[in-house]
């Protein structure tokens, strides 16, 4: 089922969405819907992380930094094996 909504976008954003939708081969609405869905997933996911932290303790700044560094390595195409991160 689809709900129709009237939304307002900055001209530049609307143009960029139009171009991105054209490149991806989908409609303007489908592209916006997909972007919103992704944003909702991120939001739900971070809530999931917070729920886990509530149970086990928040990630320390060192752990957060280690996660960021690992992500950067993987995105750059480098494999790795698990190493321990000192707990706060």
């Amino acid at each position: 089922m689809v709900t129709k909504r009237s939304v307002s976008l900055d001209d530049e954003v609307a143009s960029a969405v139009e171009e991105a939708a054209r490149q991806d081969g989908v409609s303007f609405s489908a592209w916006l819907s997909s972007a919103a869905e992704k944003q909702l997933r991120v939001r739900q996911g971070l809530r999931g992380v917070a729920a886990w932290e509530g149970e086990t303790g928040s990630l320390s700044a060192e752990e957060v930094a280690a996660g960021e560094a690992l992500l950067a390595r993987l995105r750059s195409g480098m494999s790795g094996v698990a190493s321990r991160v000192r707990r706060r």
């Binding site: 992704k38 997933r41 991120v42 739900q44 996911g45 971070l46 809530r47 999931g48 992380v49 729920a51 886990w52 932290e53 086990t56 990630l59 752990e63 957060v64 280690a66 996660g67 960021e68 690992l70 992500l71 993987l74 995105r75 750059s76 195409g77 480098m78 494999s79 790795g80 094996v81 698990a82 190493s83 321990r84 991160v85 707990r87």
Partner: protein
Amino acid sequence: MSPAKREGLVYGLGALHAAARGDRMMWALHRAALSNGIVPVVPAVTVAEGYRTEIRRDRIGELLAGTEVEPFVGESARRSGEVAARCDTSDLSSVAVVELAERRNFAVVTQQKPVLRAAAAAFGHDLVLYAV
């Protein structure tokens, strides 16, 4: 030659188990991905395996809240089945993870298993793996 960049992450069964046992690096990586606008992807067959084999299903649910579960259907299921046969394995979850990584140019997060490399070779894929 520098290694090829990856567009995202695919979680295998090992990632689900690591999250369930409270592996802090796994959760730190998951947080980093989401904070950078990356929604990790998990094949549906891997989700099924996770719920079949893990006691801490609540934690799998917390992890999956921030993922995209990709249906195991059509062409991807056919490719995975064919490669599983070539690799002489019934571990469809691992093969599906590699198939997804190859198709979407993702890095893999899971436990180290020989079948991963075998499947990657069968797909002609240069596997980027974080072994939890």
